[in-house]
């Protein structure tokens, strides 16, 4: 607990340093303090997970309205690991990356506050502390989105994000108030002990909190802010939002819905499961068709978080069916997924920042051949993309593997609801895993391999030291978790058991293996790695017997010699088959314009092909809403015609109403 408090104090110090230090030292000083803060909090989480005690602390005098109540239990520690990792990497990166407005006092202070809020949310022990930290997180990230306020797209993103995040916060507040009302308790620990019933208020609390938290995690149809806000935020903030903040959305579901509202009917959980699976599919499909590098990553976040939500919802159903050990397996899978996603998604967002700075664009259709310009970044991206595509020995594979095994275990002897849940979850994971792989091949193959598709600015900057360090750290964690998942899973299992209240040990891990009792299977990544090394040696030896002459040659171009970079497959053309197969879901708009030569209609001069995939959910649900809102706003203008007399009358009437109401 001392570690945690020291970490949070350093986080505050980072904010103070950002305020007080001179502009030249600001980013470095505040960044160092912030990195140390995250490292200490991460260490506190590790100590807590290794030990078996839950510690609480109450700070009475810091905030004016209520005491600050901190509680570090296993679940908090598990999520804190993710937040701390992403925060360390993003802040190290920011030290090397920050230019222009991102170096300003406002931006540095806001970033320090954002990190601090992210670190406090998981350890918030009661409702007021939680809501305070949650709101601080939402507001600081909103303000950071406006660092580039000159770009209209950033402003539009901020409006969407502001509306959605405040709506979500309102839903969470109301939901938590309902829980407080049922349980007569304000701390999460005593709430869980009260086991609130399934009355109307319980359902209201479940729906409101689940909606609020799921919207933070980008669940369809509350996701519309995410593909706008994550790409428009400054790069380190994108990484924090995507790697850590979305994870906190799922943390909220685990903490409140799974941890407190224990008695809720499984029908609600099945509803949430369907939402999760649909989000995952929707995110994966849009990730495949997106051509903006960061937008692709944002949609892939929706995909990963959707799977996480499905895992948590599956745990809810299976616990209600009396299978807490399978529920615990699923929760462990989600926790591993969160850590894996935090590492690879933060890495990919940071790498996208490097790419944007080096080439001046994020458009995959104009990128290509970056492996020559940014070799180390390309290597890091390859590691992260592999992890995202569930390549064995990557962290993402471990999470996905545990989730699939959990759902398969659910197909065993459980009631029909459990079997349906397991089948839906399994189908969801199965459908998304292939699509995710397509998106990642596109990202790496089109963006970084091949040949450059457009001229690059001569002033493009390469890879810096701090930025490289951040990427290397995240790549190391990705591979480390993939090769040695046993110890991590062993400690995460405790968090999962706490959440679902399971008595059986659930997933077990050692250095060499990771065992799931519910499907009688295990993973031996260290053995796999050794086997891979042995096979590489064998193949190299075998290949030595052959010719070692390599000749540089021209690529096959059907006998032509002018193979220009424009003839390569672009991101759009790479995704075209998927777009066509899933046209009913994606509803792409394709324009083909043919103009003819003046002499003859038979000769075509220019053929323009444009294809656009808009968010179908946004068009169907939000466009009417926005239009209605605008119409209402225009109508309301007649109330404000500029006459001072009228405004005075409004004030008078309002005063009268207040007096009457109070009297």
């Amino acid at each position: 607990m001392t570690l945690l408090l020291a970490g949070l104090a350093l986080g505050l110090l980072a904010v103070v340093l950002a305020l007080a230090s001179p502009s030249r030292a600001r980013v470095v000083l505040a960044g160092t303090s912030g990195v140390l803060a995250a490292a200490l909090v991460g260490a506190a989480a590790v100590v807590d997970l290794a030990g078996r005690t839950t510690r609480t602390v109450t700070i009475t005098s810091l905030l004016p309205f209520a005491p600050l109540h901190l509680r570090l239990d296993a679940l908090a520690a598990a999520v804190e690991l993710v937040v701390a990792l992403v925060a360390i990497a993003a802040q190290v990166f920011a030290v090397g990356y920050a230019r222009g407005r991102l170096r300003s006092r406002t931006a540095t202070v806001l970033q320090g506050l954002f990190v601090l809020a992210l670190l406090v949310v998981p350890v918030a022990g009661d409702v007021t502390t939680f809501l305070f930290a949650w709101e601080l997180m939402a507001l600081t990230s909103l303000a950071l989105l406006l660092v580039d306020h000159e770009r209209p797209s950033a402003r539009a993103a901020a409006v969407w994000y502001g509306a959605m995040t405040q709506g979500g916060a309102a839903a969470i507040t109301l939901g938590l108030l309902a829980v407080v009302r049922i349980t007569h308790a304000t701390s999460f620990a005593s709430m869980a002990a009260a086991r609130p019933g399934t009355g109307v208020l319980g359902v209201v609390a479940f729906v409101l909190t689940a909606a609020g938290f799921a919207s933070k995690a980008g669940a369809v149809p509350l996701h519309v802010w995410l593909p706008r806000a994550h790409p428009e935020a400054p790069t380190p903030v994108s990484a924090l939002m995507s790697g850590a903040m979305t994870a906190l959305g799922l943390y909220g579901v685990a903490r409140v819905d799974l941890g407190v509202l224990v008695e809720i009917g499984r029908g609600w959980w099945i509803g949430l499961l369907v939402v999760g699976v649909l989000s995952a599919l929707f995110g994966a499909l849009h990730a495949v068709t997106s051509t903006d590098l960061k937008r692709l990553l944002a949609y892939s976040t929706i995909d990963a978080m959707g799977l996480g939500l499905a895992g948590l919802a599956g745990a809810g159903v299976l616990r209600a069916e009396g299978r807490p050990e399978i529920a615990a397996t699923l929760v462990v899978g989600v926790l591993v997924l969160l850590l894996a996603h935090g590492a690879f998604k933060a890495l990919l967002f940071l790498a996208a920042g490097v790419v944007e700075r080096a080439t001046g664009t994020r458009d995959l259709d104009r990128l290509g051949g970056l492996v020559g310009l940014l070799p180390r970044t390309t290597a890091a991206v390859a590691v992260a993309a592999g992890s995202a595509a569930s390549v064995p020995l990557g962290a993402g594979f471990v999470g996905e593997w545990i989730l699939v095994e959990g759902f398969v275990a659910g197909l065993g002897r459980t009631a029909p609801g459990g079997v349906a849940t397991a089948l839906v979850g399994l189908v969801g994971v199965a459908l998304t895993s292939g699509l995710t792989a397509v998106a990642m091949v596109k990202l790496l193959g089109v963006g970084f391999l091949g040949r450059a598709r457009a001229e690059r600015p001569a002033s493009g900057t390469g890879e810096g030291r701090a930025t490289g360090l951040a990427l290397a750290l995240l790549a190391l964690v990705t591979v480390g978790v993939g090769v040695l998942p046993g110890p991590l899973v062993a400690v995460l299992a405790r968090a999962a058991r706490d959440v679902v209240g399971s008595a059986s040990p659930g997933p077990a891990g050692s250095i060499t293996s990771l065992t799931l009792a519910s499907t009688a299977t295990s993973l031996r990544p260290l053995g796999l790695a050794a086997g891979a090394v042995a096979l590489v040696g064998l193949v190299v030896l075998a290949a030595r017997g052959g010719s070692r002459v390599v000749r540089a040659t021209r690529a096959w171009a059907c006998g032509r010699s002018d193979l220009s970079p424009r003839m390569q497959y672009t991101a759009t053309s790479f995704a075209e088959p998927v777009q066509r197969v899933f046209a009913d879901v994606l509803r792409p708009t394709v324009d083909v314009t043919v103009s003819h030569e003046e002499e003859s209609r038979e000769i075509e001069s220019v053929l323009a092909y444009r294809s656009r995939v808009d968010d179908a959910v946004e068009r169907a649900l939000y466009d009417p809403l926005v239009r209605a809102h605008d119409a209402l706003g225009r109508r309301a203008r007649i109330l404000a015609n500029g006459s001072v007399h009228r405004y005075l009358a409004y004030g008078f009437v309002a005063l009268l109403i207040v007096l009457v109401a109070l009297g």
Binding site: L411, L426, L444, G445, L449, G546, V550, A555, Y569
Partner: protein
């Protein structure tokens, strides 16, 4: 016989067997079409020949050089882990079928990246098509395997096969038949055979898989085609073993393993002959008709799970 020895044996079997199965399929096709055809050892000889040739590399040379290794290592690793001839492989408690699935997926990713690395139109075209089809076969594969896992509630192949050998009647269950049917479609798609892809086409525009690998030559091509043959060998052996698990050695003793090897070869050869006969009798599907076939396989797999759960 120790687990490591069996694993090494399986890798060797899959490598040589894969090449031989390719030869067998070519031979069956030739005979069915009224030709004599090349001897079944032809693929072995070709790989040996290409190994001695220089490797021409165009664009993306470093990636092109790495792809065959990734393909060989991931496929070899999957062949070592998964029980084919006997269940007591090295680390058989970790013989989870999902590992094999995702190792094979890694091989596909490497091939697609190799296609994009060359910076040519055909490489990208092949990569795009192959990844699209791979994304659509993945669900059928995972759910089909889950259907086979339902009776034992385990994705561990060693557990699954032990049970299947002890209870051979399970093979006649409708769930098993449906799952095997869906996996057959998956195997045809993943190995790039007709009606999904024509492995012997010379027309670039109709290529899926071949377009990705146009730029390999010499030793690179030898290693790559060995990797592709291993992939075919592994998928065929896996499907044959799962469909008809008779003869899989449940102990590590030498004699049962030997029987297991011989029977595995026979089962895989029968399967290869069957697939070759399907190839003779079917024309290549239009690219955008293939998703319908794969969707059908996916539905079969879901049905297999449902039937399996209900019948239990």
């Amino acid at each position: 016989m120790s687990g490591y020895l069996l694993s090494a044996l399986q890798v060797l079997l899959v490598a040589v067997g894969g090449l031989l199965l390719t030869g067998v399929m070519a031979k069956v096709r030739a005979r069915a079409e009224g030709r004599v055809g090349a001897p079944v050892t032809q693929p072995l000889r070709e790989v040996a020949k290409w190994l001695t040739r220089e490797s021409p590399r165009a664009g993306g040379a470093s990636v092109l050089a790495a792809v065959p290794y990734v393909l060989l290592v991931t496929t070899g690793l999957a062949a070592a882990v998964v029980p084919l001839a006997g269940v007591v492989t090295a680390g058989s408690s970790g013989a989870d079928v999902l590992i094999a699935v995702f190792l094979l997926l890694t091989g596909s990713l490497a091939l697609a990246l190799g296609g994009l690395a060359t910076g040519t139109a055909f490489g990208g075209m092949g990569a795009s098509r192959a990844m699209t089809l791979s994304a659509l076969t993945e669900p059928a594969l995972l759910v089909g395997l889950a259907a086979l896992a339902v009776p034992q509630r385990s994705m561990n192949l060693a557990t699954l096969l032990r049970h299947a050998v002890a209870h051979p009647t399970g093979m006649a269950s409708p769930s098993h038949v449906l799952a095997v049917a869906s996996l057959l479609v998956v195997v045809i798609a993943e190995t790039g055979r007709l009606p999904v892809d024509n492995p012997s086409t010379h027309l670039e525009l109709t290529m899926i898989h071949e377009a990705m690998v146009l730029e390999y030559g010499g030793r690179d091509w030898a290693l790559l085609s060995l990797g592709q043959a291993m992939r075919l060998g592994l998928l065929f052996s896996l499907l044959a073993t799962l469909a008809v698990p008779w003869g899989v050695a449940t102990s590590g003793a030498a004699l049962p393993v030997l029987v297991g090897v011989v029977l595995l070869g026979a089962k895989a050869a029968v399967l290869a002959t069957g697939v070759a006969l399907i190839e003779v009798r079917s024309a290549k599907l239009r690219l955008f008709r293939v998703p319908e076939l794969l969707a059908a396989a996916f539905v079969l797999a879901i049905l297999a799970v449902v039937v399996g759960v209900v019948a239990r």
